[in-house]
Amino acid sequence: MLSVKGELKLDSTRNGFGKGLVELGKANKNIVVLSADLTDSVRAHWFKKEFPDRFFSFGVAEQNMISAAAGFALSGKIAYAATFGVFAAGRAWDQVRVSVDYMNLNVKIVGTHAGISVGEDGYTHQALEEITLMRVLPNMTMIVPSDFTEAKRATLKAAEWKGPVYIRLGRNASPILTEESDPFEIGKGILARPGKDITIVACGQMFFEAMKAAEILAQKKIDARVINMHTIKPIDEAILLKAAKETGAFVTAEEHSMRGGLGGAVTEILSQNYPVPVKMVGMAGCGQSGSPQELFKCFNLLAEDVARAAEGALAMKRP
């Protein structure tokens, strides 16, 4: 893994998806890609250029696109259906539930422009609920890559993973922290930094903030463990329970609603197996327009906020 210090290379997770798709298209003739009038935005245009016969445009009609993806999958294809997260998980949720998840089909739903980091478009385009909406579906696998490299690998691995997968991506260029040589398995959290006082579990762009938070805490002699939980479902129970036993307190960090997201997934496991104090960092209300930096600050999603939450969780630790 790369360090959080020094100059970091930036790229977007949606670019990782787009590059991954092209690799996949070359390797597997069964891949088809569906888009709903956002082909460039979701970075499916590279695939479209290389494999025009396996690319299908559906216009501004996400419900039709998701059910059609199911039809492709029922005919033996692996269908990647990509649009903004708000539309994939929200507008077409019943189609995802009935056409895709119920039949446990090989449809890989890719929701880009997730979180407040999409910025200026404002709340209507800031998907803040898809982790909750998607992980509640029984057959769905839910991945939130933390950077470009992970997004590319998630795209490739999803094709081998049987059944429906939702991949949550961002629009903006964000720091690249992982390398191709790092471990990446769907369903396995990554111990990114060892630590014994508290555990920070983060996903997506919040992984970077979590790593920086651990540096802030280190200056205060607090030894924070950081887990990159790129797969929210199935969640890696083993890594969580080990951390609960060894550190005794948690912070969850996500660029997403605090209701039912990563924080919800983690507390479900802890509360039923090894309860320890948990503080959540995430969104409580609606987003608004602004630059990603302004919004991360406004909604308390920066490393300092994660560090503060960690101190709060530590204060709740029982003797």
Binding site: V32, D53, R54, F56, F58, G59, A61, Q63, N64, M65, I66, S67, A68, A69, A70, G71, F72, A73, L74, S75, G76, K77, A79, D94, Q95, R97, V98, S99, Y102, M103
Partner: protein
């Protein structure tokens, strides 16, 4: 395939109606009106039109039916069992705990091509199948049976546009046009205007026929197969509750099953 005679098929339709009513009564719940209206449509497909192999349900060369109006599944189940997809004895497990014959179709029962029931999704699924068949250079035909109440769903019209856009002449939609939906007459609940014009304006080849006349249905299905560069929709005019006098034309029979004495009366009418 040797097509059965019209007389034989009409006899078959009567048998299917009797079976469906028994299934519904045994289940003491389910959708009577729309199951009875769709009988000849399903029969025409499975006995005359579709290439399929009950002994090999996953046969790659088969045509496909997506029953978008999933609540009419008792009729599909009865026809599939009659064809030999699964034992006829299983029909009486409809809607019961542990059954493969779910209240709405579920993938996994031999012969079922898609789980359906949330209205409006079937045509889109059929489009995915039709596009995949074209990509694979297969001559598979895909059929999708919809209800007329179902046409209220916006997704149907998203699908209609995309099927025409892709010139899916291997796709055939059939609307079981019985003019009643749960709340009452379609034109009172939500008037969709002239359906024929609507589909045509979306770029479809539109055919109309008497949905209880097997000859007319077969002619329409044959004509649909000959049409190039356009998807076809058949507006099949039907009667909700067809075949049972006290069920016919009654919206309130949409979602209820006959009681024992009603079943006896119905079976007598269908002798």
């Amino acid at each position: 395939m040797q097509r059965p005679s019209i007389d034989e098929l009409n006899k078959k339709a009567k048998e299917i109606r009797r079976t469906v009513l028994k299934m519904l009564t045994e289940a003491s719940s389910g959708h009577t009106g729309g199951s009875l209206s769709v009988v000849e449509i399903i029969i025409s497909l499975y006995y005359c039109k579709m290439r399929h192999d009950p002994k090999n349900p996953g046969w790659q060369g088969r045509d496909r039916l997506v029953l978008s109006k999933g609540h009419a599944c008792p009729t599909l189940y009865a026809v599939l069992a009659e064809c030999g997809y699964f034992p006829k004895t299983e029909l009486m497990t409809l809607r019961k705990f542990g059954t493969r014959l779910q209240g709405h179709p579920q993938l996994g029962l031999p012969g079922i091509e898609a789980s359906t029931g949330s209205l409006g999704q079937g045509l889109s699924i059929a489009i995915g199948m039709a596009l995949a068949a074209r990509l694979d250079k297969k001559d598979t035909r895909v059929y999708c049976v919809m209800g007329d109440g179902e046409l209220n769903e916006g997704q149907i019209w998203e699908a209609a546009a995309s099927a025409a856009h892709y010139k899916l002449d291997n796709l055939c939609g059939i609307v079981d046009h019985n003019k009643l939906q749960i709340d009452g007459p379609c034109e009172e609940v939500m008037d969709m205007g002239p359906l024929k014009d609507k589909w045509a304006s979306f770029g479809w080849n539109v055919l109309e026929c008497d949905g209880h006349n097997i000859k007319e249905l077969m002619d329409s299905l044959d004509s649909a197969e000959r049409k190039k560069a356009k998807p076809t929709v058949i507006l099949a005019h039907t009667v909700k509750g067809k075949g049972v006098s006290f069920v016919e034309h009654k919206a309130e029979w949409h979602g209820i099953a006959p009681k024992k004495e009603e079943l006896d009366r119905a079976l007598k009418e269908l002798e």
